[in-house]
């Protein structure tokens, strides 16, 4: 029997303010943003009404957190209250397969395929991304008015929702981790030196972050802020840039080549071509330190070869074309040279991630520094390009969702119906998941294998000796 | 393995082959059996044991007199019966009767034994279809209400209507206001009960399963009436019960716990 699986899809997405005491017939006023716009006002109001009823009803029983999800046979609804009285709601149609039963076709909805934890993370990230570029809902509404907030939300989310890759969301969304590149002392010092001299010479540059390919080497901003900026860079900005690069061919084909010329740098945000530009153009502004002391910065991304530098410039600064020219002149050669040194180091010292097919695959995450590493995923771009079967990754998400029950440390080994083995280890804030595809292995074989993997991959990382 | 050809069966087959071997005759067997009905705390009354020991007793009562306890859920039907049967009061949260409970009790009326087969019904409405089936064969009905519960009293008329519909016309009916020990919680006055009984021409008394007040009397009155009827003195009919009750209750205005 061939089953046609319909993947998870976005049914609607809306934001409302529950404190708006709207009169009957004016309930639509509390809706701040609603997707899809094709839904009638009445539907919108009804949907918001249901959510409000749910919030109120569940609140009566004094849970230790506000309501976060609604499960129905065919749908999943996720709630997030990022600011007091502001609610974001995302509704998903559950993936389903059509199965013929007694001659008629029945849709079987795969409730367990959609993890609340994963899509809560997606919803939360949507908010953080918005806040990064637009500040808090509350501040906008206070500063100007609700229609301004509506415009901003419309402007941001209409574009943002299109970038969601809902079918490929998995445990990595829960982590929203950062991939770090461990460097040798010399290379690391070079990066450090470069950043210091930038901050020294250009006082308007408040913070600097440094990435090589998809990996972070240094960040001057708060980890929470870096986490969301990292997601933006890796998930959106850099891939888009690469595409234009590839099309334009303005950069040598092999950016890792050590024989490249001295100056490869260019601004990714900011004036795109300094020679022809007449003005600085539109520089994105972002909001950092939102939880403590929200402040606005210009967000300038500069890239040479595989290295990316993020400059966070005081939002009050008057940016001139001259400044960009000078920055380009200062950073270009230095960054190009640092980038080629790092590339050289990497080819020599970092073992390639080309693990053979069928070998154990793992995901590691440390909540303390937000570091993650995955050999399950073949890229960091959430393309669904994975090296082990999806069921195993879902089992990992199951384990992750239930990790609180394990206490501060624990180990789980499971064997699925298809004879895949999945192992989860939790120690304080670290999580380590391994998928092993050895059909005939015994439990004892697997625990030996896990020991080996831990010895090679987690050298020096302390795991509670279980 | 099937049970049919089990080795142990032989032991039991012998028993099956001898249909005359009945509980009552097998006195040795009985002595090993603490209770013929098999209930915890059930001490068979002397009469029962005597009855078992010799079947030769003077016996006007091979007939079994079916008596049913009726009334709303929670008025104390089971408690009344347990008090009468065992002398003990089941306190507090004793659980509701499931379906119909069945108890055999032999009492002595004027030196002869009367065998009462007492059906304790669940008061809940959902069991009513089952209990109706048993009204038909009943010789006597004890209809209870709870003097602390007005609804249970108000429902008596409905119960009487039901009795008219399902029971035989000459059934002996006694109206009982239970929980008379309640003190200040009383809601239904004694006079109300009496008035209702007069209206329907049935006997009446107040009882307390807790203190034991009139418990024995209620059942004895029924037994006496049933015996009288059986022996053909039918004319006296219902009035005799009422008179008897009046007499007996006047004799002992505050009878001691009779068991």
């Amino acid at each position: 029997m061939t089953t046609n699986k319909i993947e998870v899809e976005l049914k609607n997405f809306f934001i409302f303010n529950s404190s708006w005491d709207s009169k009957e017939g004016e309930e639509y006023k509390k809706v701040l943003y609603y997707y899809p716009p094709t839904d009638e006002i009445n539907t919108q109001v009804n949907n918001v009404g249901l959510v409000e009823a749910i919030i109120k009803f569940t609140g009566n029983f004094k849970p230790n957190a506000p309501v976060n999800s609604l499960h129905t046979q065919k749908k999943r609804q996720l709630y997030y209250q990022p600011e007091e009285n502001y609610w974001m709601v995302m509704t998903l149609n559950l993936p389903h397969v059509a199965k013929s039963r007694n001659g008629s076709t029945v849709n079987e909805y795969l409730e367990e395929d959609v993890h609340d934890t994963v899509y809560e993370a997606v919803l939360k990230q949507a908010y953080l991304m918005y806040r990064l570029f637009a500040g808090t809902f509350c501040s906008t509404e206070k500063k100007s008015d609700v229609s301004h907030l509506r415009n901003k939300l419309e402007h941001f989310f209409s574009a943002y929702l299109k970038t969601l890759k809902l079918t490929h969301c998995d445990i990595l969304n829960v982590f929203a981790g950062i991939h770090f590149l461990p460097l040798d002392k010399q290379n690391f010092l070079n990066v450090q030196c470069f950043i210091n001299s930038l901050e020294c010479n250009y006082p308007m540059i408040r913070y600097v972050s440094f990435l090589f390919n998809d990996s972070l080497i240094w960040s001057g901003i708060e980890p929470n802020d870096m986490q969301i900026i990292y997601q933006y860079l890796i998930g959106t900005l850099l891939p888009a840039h690469m595409e234009t690069e590839l099309q334009g061919g303005s950069i040598p084909r092999n950016p890792l080549s050590p024989f490249a010329s001295l100056h490869y740098g260019r601004f990714i945000t900011g004036p795109s071509n300094l020679k022809t530009a007449g003005s600085v153009g539109k520089i994105p502004k972002i909001f950092l330190n939102n939880e403590t002391n929200p402040s606005v910065f210009y967000f300038i991304v500069y890239r040479a070869l595989s290295s990316t530098v993020c400059l966070f410039i005081d939002g009050e600064t008057d940016l001139s074309l001259h400044l960009f020219k000078e920055l380009d002149e200062f950073m270009g050669p230095k960054l190009s040279s640092i980038a080629s040194d790092i590339a050289e180091y990497c080819t020599k010292h970092i073992t390639s991630t080309n693990t053979p097919d069928g070998a154990p695959r793992f995901i590691y995450f440390n909540k303390l520094n937000l570091a993650y590493k995955s050999t399950v995923h073949l890229d960091n771009r959430q393309t669904g390009n994975v090296a082990c079967n999806k069921e195993s990754i879902k089992v990992m998400a199951d384990m992750n969702a239930k990790r609180a029950l394990m206490g501060h440390a624990g180990e789980t080994i499971v064997k699925t119906m298809n004879d895949y083995w999945i192992v989860g280890k939790i120690s304080n804030l670290r999580e380590f998941y391994i998928a092993i595809q050895q059909k005939n292995a015994s439990l004892i074989d697997i625990s030996d294998e896990v020991k080996k993997i831990c010895d090679t991959e987690l050298k020096g990382i302390f795991f509670h000796p279980m | 393995m099937t049970t049919e050809d089990s080795m142990d069966d032989d032991v039991f087959e012998a028993l099956e082959d001898n249909p005359h071997l009945k509980v009552g005759e097998d006195t040795h067997q009985l002595k090993n059996t603490p209770s013929p009905t098999g209930y915890r705390d059930y001490k068979p009354p002397a009469e029962v044991l005597k009855l078992c020991e010799s079947d030769t007793i003077e016996d006007s009562n091979q007939t079994v007199h079916k008596t049913i306890l009726l009334g709303d859920s929670g008025v104390g039907k089971t408690s009344l019966l347990v008090k009468f049967d065992t002398g003990k009061f089941q306190p507090g949260n004793f659980s509701a009767t499931v379906g119909i409970g069945f108890t055999n009790k032999v009492v002595t009326v004027d030196n002869s034994r009367v065998k009462l087969q007492i059906w304790d019904t669940a008061g809940q409405e959902r069991f009513r279809s089952v209990t109706h089936a048993y009204y038909r064969d009943a010789h006597a009905l004890l209809l209870l209400y709870d003097v602390t519960n007005k609804t249970s009293y108000d429902n008596i008329r409905a119960w009487l209507g039901e009795i008219r519909e399902y029971a035989q016309d000459d059934v002996v009916i006694m109206l009982i206001g239970n929980k008379s020990d309640c003190g200040p919680d009383r809601i239904v006055r004694r006079e109300d009960g009496e008035r209702l009984a007069r209206e329907y021409n049935v006997a009446f008394m107040e009882t307390s399963a807790k203190s034991g007040l009139n418990v024995e009397l209620a059942f004895m009155a029924i037994a006496r009436e049933l015996k009288l009827r059986q022996s053909g003195q039918k004319d006296s009919n219902k009035f005799s019960v009422q008179d008897y009750v009046r007499e007996e209750t006047q004799k002992t205005p505050c009878p001691p716990c009779s068991t």
Partner: protein
Amino acid sequence: MASNCEVEPGAAPESALVTTDSYENFQQMSSSLEEIKNSNFTSSTQDEFLDNCNNIDSDLHVNCSTVSVSSQDEDYIRDEEWLGKSKHIFVLSSAGKPIYSRYGNEDRFASYFGIMQALVSFVQADDDSIRSMHAGDTKFVFLFREPLILVAVSKTEECTSQLTAQLNYVFNQIASMLTLSRLVKIYEQRRNYDLRRLLTGVERLIDHLLDFSEQEPAFTLGAVQCLPLTSSVRDAISSAIVQSCSKIKNLVFGILLANNQLITLVRMKKYCIHPHDLHLIFNLVQASESLKTAEIWTPLCLPRFDASGFLYGHVSYLAEDCQACLLLLTVERDAFFSLSEAKQRIVERLRRGNCLEAINESLNTKEETCVDIGFPELRHYLYKCKSTAQFHQPSMGAPYTINCKRLLDLYRRAHYRLHCPTRPLKLLFERTSEDALLAWDTRGFELYAILEPLTDTGNAIATVGRLLNWIKKREDKLFQLNAPTF
């Protein structure tokens, strides 16, 4: 991972219990009664019975003692004790009328019932059905089974499907008192019917069922535990029942149980009882003190056996000196006296065969703990033989004698993970700083073993292998291996 037992312990070619998957469709019902009645002449028919039921409905003579609805919701919202309950259970009609609340008088928060009904119907209007809501530590689980809505509000660790299973039990408990057909019919006739008037006394059964299902692994496993008896004694008991009832027609089940354990189950040929139905029977017996005062005759619907009609049960304890409860279930509504006599015959045979003593001895023997039987590294285990839907567990030893809730939580969690509908597992091994757990689901059995926290996989496997052999050697004592019929 291989077991050295050729056949899983406790396996039998025939089972008196329907073997089940725990998360199967609960709504699946069979209609065994029609079959039985069609094949046997019976004195009363289902139709007659239903007619009678309808008659009562039209005789609306009993004043409903409903307290008038007062809006004192505020009391409960502020009532810390009420809010602190770890699991609330609500039952309401699809029109939103309160029927049952595990804690507190349901009339005092009638508005909550209104909201629950509204949530259900709102989602339903979208051609969908509400399953659950999640808020931090609290789960709100909905079960809509026409014509009732059941809701659990739980701060326990149980997952949604386990809570749904519990709600299904509550629904079946209600159905077992009224039959599903009647339940449906009542609401067809009067949408606003107050079902509580028909459920007087059932609240206690539901209360008990909820506590019971939270304390008994039997509910999680969908299985029953047998009272350990040597097979000759168990067979003698079964044949005493069979022999004593040989002349009685239409007897469907004869069930003897004690202390929440099955002694024997005799059945009509071709018919099996579902463990869920048996759990309801266990619950009825355990929750009804009144059964101890007299022989009882009661209608009882076994929803998984046939939700459309009643069986009639003669229920009694064997004897003052043997607290085992015997249920004789028939389709005849007027069979009380013949069953009452049969019961006397059964007791007599059991007494002659010294079976009562054997039962008492088993009841009085404290069951062994794992340490007693020579498994020091094993703390506790559950073994379920799938083909007979029976399970065995040792007595609770330290550290779970005090904290047995933790143990049950572990089992429930492991059971769910093995049986999760979309991602079932064959094997689960988990170690935390508190304990280690090995859960193993094979074709023939399920085993859940709780071990010392530092047990490594090698030791765990070795222990479990030895344990299976140990159970195998005692299988004829721990399980009822045959399925006798009348």
